[in-house]
């Protein structure tokens, strides 16, 4: 492997690990299978990650860095206004099949591991704080622009919105027979819109 490819090799390994965690669960992921999927040797995997635990932790981190840098940054960045940005943000927080669903499975795996292993809580808490800041910023932009009515406590509203998104998203992810992702989205819109003084339908409009 050429030197200049090293960054992409590491990334390929992390992507492969994320795919396998999402497909099979974190406890069943083996280094050899990650290597095979990434088209790398096990020796190369060990070159970047000294232990299986390190690989798995880095894979989860990688997943959330990708979410933070690409998806979260995108959400609303090019939206025509704060309402459209919020609609996009809500959509990005729910487990649509595809990349979002994969990220969700990783997120649930991280919850589980953090609940069991206190050592992982700082990592999980910091990812959660990033998620919170991002969503709060989306809301704040709308308030600052005069597009949203200012809620009493933006921080608390963000907490409740995230909790609702997580609780509903989890059920959608598990294919709850009584609700799906669109129902989750409508529920979140009905919750948020009156508190921001906007029409819930505006949060359900398809992004342009």
């Amino acid at each position: 492997m050429a030197e200049r490819d090293s960054a992409s090799a590491r990334e390929r390994i992390l992507e492969a690990a994320c795919d396998l965690i999402a497909a099979e669960g974190i406890d069943d992921v083996r280094i050899a299978r990650v290597a095979m999927r990434a088209g790398a040797s096990t020796a190369l995997v060990h070159h970047y990650f000294s232990t299986r635990e390190e690989l798995l932790e880095q894979a989860i981190l990688h997943s959330f860095e990708t979410v933070g840098e690409e998806r979260f940054a995108e959400a609303g960045g090019e939206a025509p206004n704060a309402t459209a940005a919020l609609a996009e943000a809500i959509e990005e927080c729910l487990p649509r099949p595809g990349a979002l669903e994969r990220d969700w499975v990783l997120w649930v795996e991280l919850w589980l591991r953090a609940a069991r292993e206190p050592d992982l809580r700082p990592l999980a808490a910091s990812l959660y704080a990033q998620y919170h800041d991002w969503l709060e910023e989306v809301l704040k932009r709308g308030v600052d622009a005069g597009e949203f009515a200012a809620p009493d406590d933006l921080r608390a509203l963000t907490d409740r919105t995230m909790a609702l998104l997580d609780g509903l998203g989890l059920r959608a992810l598990l294919h709850d027979p009584t609700m799906d992702i669109d129902a989750a989205r409508a529920q979140v819109a009905d919750f948020l819109a009156p508190q921001l003084g906007i029409d819930p339908a505006a949060l359900l409009a398809e992004p342009a």
């Binding site: 406890d27 997580d166 609780g167 509903l168």
Partner: protein
Amino acid sequence: MTPRPSIDHIRRPQILAAAAEVIAERGVAGTRIADVAERCGVSPPALLYWFDSKEHLLAEALTADDDRFYEELEERLDEAATPGERMVALIETATESADDFALWMELWTWALRDAGLRAARERFDARWRAAIEAIVVDGVAAGEFSAADPPQAALAIAALIDGLSAQAALGDPEVSNPRVRETVLAGAERFLDAELPTRAGGRASP
């Protein structure tokens, strides 16, 4: 020791308590039937006679945990006079302890891949949402709540509790539990379109 099916009713709670402990510590994947057998002093074959898999043990351990929760909940609800007070009691009971959260997280992650556990999760969730909905319906009938769609309000309250419990589990549960309760209460007021009885009049913090 020669465990027999006839003492199932005695052994069963011990086995399920041991399973809950071991699974919470090591996760379903890291748990062996033999570990649970050792913890409760039953032979592995006897354990396998009653519970044919780890997934089955997890589902039964959660059922036992759930039944205990509803017993406590019923007692707390009996003490509450109005639907508003019952809703506050329900939210307080549900947000008081994060001890068993790891076990419920196991259910959520394994339900992604195991049809039996997925069905179990749906049963637990249906029971929980029905319990919430019953109070919402009473509150609407009594004119205390104005929720237009009680099943949706129950779903939203259940979702809020799960989402916040996950947030709490990521931090220090001792610090976050009162915040979880306050946040759920505030959210519930919005879903119910009602003011809940003053929280100051409620129970002292656990």
